[in-house]
């Protein structure tokens, strides 16, 4: 389990030219190793650059400086769909294609031979219990069902690495918990490496092997918290005292960050550049 799946070295990301008044340093010298089969959460206040970091890992953004290797390969601003799959919010299911067509198109983009499309799609849909909705259009499903399907779309491309960008943000609390459980089981079954962005404390503690707590503006790693609990995790984990201790620890770390971010949003003048 000690083999490194993702290796981030001194990555910085700046929007706008350095020195320009509207330039923002989104990531400041981030270094992080993610082991194979590990579930890592990026947790932080909004605007701390956690989504930016995820996009750098996925090759959608080219970092201003630093390097990122995935499975020993340099990722430099171009996606590697054979190694990495993204799961965004549920709304990225293409509304003009039916569920099964959404899977086919993802597999087609990835370059999988056509003969495998339907088998793999149906397998993934079965895994999340949605196989009877294959010919529905996304609009015809509830938000929770769409996210199930969306997760399955990320899984069916069978990459070692899954990057999830606040996938449950649009869901209600109960649906989140159920999908979180599914995800934990999936991780135990497939051994995928997952990097997951969230701003929900409970979600982070429940799902992660390690929680990377980030600070805002510029985005830095504040601390990394280990959650020593085997996958798959059951909802009982949430009732243990250790769960609330960890959650409180995260909250204590984030509280000051969130307050300073909110102050900056209220009164941009007082926050400084």
């Amino acid at each position: 389990m000690s083999e490194s799946a993702i290796s981030i070295r001194n990555v910085s990301q700046r929007y706008g030219d350095a020195g320009a008044p509207d330039s923002v340093l989104a990531l400041d010298d981030i270094s992080l190793e993610v082991r194979k089969g590990e579930f890592v959460c990026l947790l932080g206040p909004s605007g701390c650059g956690k989504s930016t970091l995820l996009n750098v890992i996925g090759g959608l953004f080219k970092p201003t400086s630093g390097m990122c290797h995935v499975a020993g390969r340099l990722v430099d601003g171009s996606p590697h769909p054979d190694k990495i799959a993204f799961v965004f919010q549920e709304s990225t299911l293409f509304p003009w294609y039916s569920i099964i067509e959404n899977f086919r198109i993802a597999l087609k983009f990835q370059g999988i031979p056509q003969s495998e499309w339907d088998d793999r799609a149906m397998q993934a849909l079965k895994a999340v219990g949605m196989s009877s909705f294959a010919s529905h259009y996304p609009d015809q499903l509830s938000v929770g069902m769409r996210q199930r399907v969306n997760m399955a779309r990320g899984i069916c491309v069978e990459t070692d690495i899954l990057l999830m960008d606040e996938p449950f943000a649009a869901l209600d609390e109960q649906t989140r918990m159920v999908l979180g459980e599914d995800l934990s089981q999936l991780l135990a079954a497939t051994g995928k490496t997952i990097v997951f962005v969230t701003h929900s404390l409970a979600e982070a503690v429940f799902l992660s092997d390690r929680i990377v707590v980030m600070s805002a503006r510029p985005g830095k790693i504040k601390t990394i918290i280990d959650v020593n609990e085997a996958h798959p995790r059951s909802p009982d984990f949430m009732l243990e005292p250790r769960f609330s201790e960890l959650r409180n620890e995260c909250y204590a770390l984030l509280r000051d960050e969130i307050r300073s971010t909110m102050a900056a949003q209220r009164d941009p003048q007082s926050a400084g550049a």
Partner: protein, 250 residues
Amino acid sequence: MDRSNFATRSIQISFLAVLAGAWWLATETGSISRLFLPQPRAVYAAAERLVQTAAFWSAVSVTLMTIAKAFLIAMIAGIIVGYLVTRTRLATQVIEPIISGLFTIPITLFFPMFILFFGIGTGSKVAYGATYAFFPIALNTIAAFSNMDERYLRAARSMGAGRWQTFRHILLPGALPVLMTGMRIGFFICFASVLGGETISSVAGVGRNIAHAAELMESARMYAWIVFVICTSVTLNLIVYAFENRIRNR
């Protein structure tokens, strides 16, 4: 059919019935000159005579060919220009306001120029109809491609979609509903402007025949033509809406 549905339908049907009844009554009692409003049966007789003439069919085919040519030109030019303009944000910001600003001026103003450039034959109507229909098609094409949700593009890129694949599977299907709207509006503008052009100044076609009948004060024939145009247009509207709904709902 429930009760309120029945009530609304009967209101609509009685509206049409009252309209037809008023027409019949006004002409029978002679309270309106038959020169302005001929009797329904006179219009019917005129229509019957009209469809048996070769002149009728040649006028219809002239107009249909003119509309088809004008619409084809407008569609090709509108979609190409609209798509190219959206390839960069700056081009969209520079050019879109010019096109939408021009479209608030009635293009009909420039109709005498089309007559000057292309003569009084069908050429000027093709050019005029194509120019008029170009605007809504180009504007809707711009709207269709520039309002593309960034997240879909990013998702496709993360799945490894190439340029052509992104266009074929993301940009095009995402843009299609708005593109269709543009083509529908463009088509009916094309239809109306070709007819209008023929009415104002031409030597052939449906519009010319309506104007000619009016000049000769042959009201029954003029009304027969008008009824024909209205029926054609309403039918076309119904067909296009049904087609569009079909595409939308699959």
